[in-house]
Symmetry: C2
Subunit: 344 residues, 2 copies
């Protein structure tokens, strides 16, 4: 059945029923079905708001992604923004601009992907908008909460801070390339990078654990590649940064994909993006705690602003590290084409 | 200058600077420039969340609308949802999917329209997302607040309630037709219906005043036409409704446009939509207060569910009043094509 048979109100009713069954917080006083949703805010917390949009042909490729993958990923990218603040997600609004020739089952699948990750992170769908369009464009807006005193901004990095990431980088880009080119790779490698690209796990829990145990100075999620994100931290904190190439964690599977394609895996990590790991900085005194909690070593340090943002390669040479992930609207794109970036 | 010259980060910086100057509430702890916005919620209030999307070619026609008009209208439609709950808007997120061939000045204009109405209603822009797309699709998500005890849902209408609207209906559709067909009409008529279509004023203040002074049982904003909205109230409240055709307020200008086009103005009111007036119901005992406050008379009453939703025409004949405004995805559209509708 195509969407035009079901109609807008039929679709809304379908979504509403689907999400009524899903777990819903007592604090959601009104969900789908009124002019707005009503939420009872936690009086001890601050509110977080974010929005992310995915556009057909740009952010996703239906030749190797299912609609459920798109739904998962859109929610994951928003959740990752909440994670970067050290927050907990509460509820979401979804705006769906979709061609009327689309099959209803595709939309069902899209919402199934959204529902699956929503259930995992206790997010309720509380409203949205559905309109027809010649192109699939999906926006998701997320409402989350953080402790009034414990949160992490991009702007708090201090000279002397150590720089950490929560996990391996470059895996999502490796996965994208494997999927796109249908590379013949062994089961384990394929499963790892594919999952990293299609079903990234936002680091909500890790961020919470870190904020609880160590004094984080600054934090950002890695949606556009390490190069871009460390530059954001540097700019907002008015500092410089030094990243050691040989300390950037990259999985063996990602290395294998890069070898197969004649690429350098480091480029996936620096410019590939969509890894949805977190990058954070803290004073040297906290290093041991981070090591105990996450088994991670620093990948670099915060330096004076005038020194800029630098990469030290394996041979000890310094390079200026430019924020050259995928930038929307620009025709000149970096070596690795990237597909997503956030305004906030 | 086209967008691809400025690039995504250039555009974000431009928007950020523009809105930094704009009035911002002390409760916005973090706005544009971090992973999410941070807002300090009012501890005595409940949170309202809504989202609306406008798609090029469907929700707006650039042959007679400026980009500033689009910006105004998108914000107005969201504000109207907040008004329908009896709420006050606080801040907004904007997601912009836009072709890279667009002129930067068009986007400046779009944000100018958003800024103008935002200033009027004290809304701060706190974040968003900008991505490239083959088609302009703009989503706006709004965060508002209401009193924990005084708010108005679609679901509270009771049998015996009187039905009111806050202002004239059909004007937006009349304006759309005048603009679309470039009708040769007198200055005053043109100005009135044009303004009603391009720069609707969401009824935030009226809703607040009403909630303060009378006991509203149910309320909804008229974005899809009276027929559609009264059916939403009936469905959510599990009641029926009776609307008297001759009591529906329609301005002389709207009548004139309808005459010129050989249409019935009542159809604009019933099915035209985008008037962004409010429809509300309350018990008969409150009627006098409404008359004193707004000088409005009831346009109908709430009846038992089994009787359905009916229109009594000028000759006293009953008609079933179907929710046949514009419905997305459907090929069969009502007499008057409509352009916007909300999921929540």
């Amino acid at each position: 059945m195509q969407l035009h048979k079901l109609g807008e109100f039929g679709l809304i009713e379908r979504i509403r029923k689907k999400f009524k069954k899903a777990r819903s917080s007592k604090r959601i006083l009104v969900g789908i079905g009124d002019d707005t949703a009503i939420i009872s805010p936690h009086i001890d917390k601050l509110v977080l708001l974010t929005i992310d949009t995915m556009v057909e042909g740009l952010h996703f490729d239906l030749s190797y992604m299912t609609f459920a993958d798109i739904g998962w990923k859109l929610m994951a990218s928003n959740l990752s923004d909440i994670a970067a603040m050290g927050g907990i997600p509460v509820c979401a609004l979804i705006s769906l601009a979709v061609p009327s020739s689309y099959e209803v089952k595709w939309i069902d699948e899209l919402y199934k992907g959204i529902e699956k990750i929503s259930r995992r992170f206790n997010v309720s769908l509380v409203g949205g908008d559905t309109v027809s369009s010649s192109l699939l464009v999906v926006s998701l807006s997320l409402y989350g909460e953080i402790d009034r005193k414990k949160f992490s901004l991009r702007s708090g990095a201090k000279v002397g801070d150590l720089i950490f990431v929560t996990g391996n980088l470059g895996g999502s880009e490796a996965g994208r390339l494997v999927l796109k080119h249908n590379l013949p790779l062994g089961g384990e490698v394929l499963a790892e990078v594919k999952s990293k690209h299609l079903h990234p796990i936002p680091r909500i829990d890790k961020a919470k654990m870190l904020l609880k145990n160590v004094r984080i100075h600054s934090m950002i999620d890695i949606s556009d590649g390490l190069a871009s994100e460390i530059n954001h931290i540097a700019e907002e904190s008015k500092v410089g940064a030094l990243i050691y190439e040989d300390k950037i964690p990259i999985s063996k599977s990602t290395q294998k994909v890069a070898e197969k394609l004649g690429d350098k895996a480091i480029n996936y990590a620096l410019y590939g993006g969509e890894d949805y790991e977190l990058l954070f900085t803290l004073s040297q005194g906290e290093q041991k705690k981070v090591k105990n909690l996450t088994n991670r070593i620093p990948i670099g340090e915060i330096i004076e602003r005038k020194k800029g943002v630098l990469l030290i390669d394996r041979n000890g040479y310094k390079h200026r590290l430019k924020a050259k992930g995928y930038e929307h609207f620009k025709n000149t794109i970096s070596a690795i084409k990237r597909t997503r970036t956030a305004m906030s």
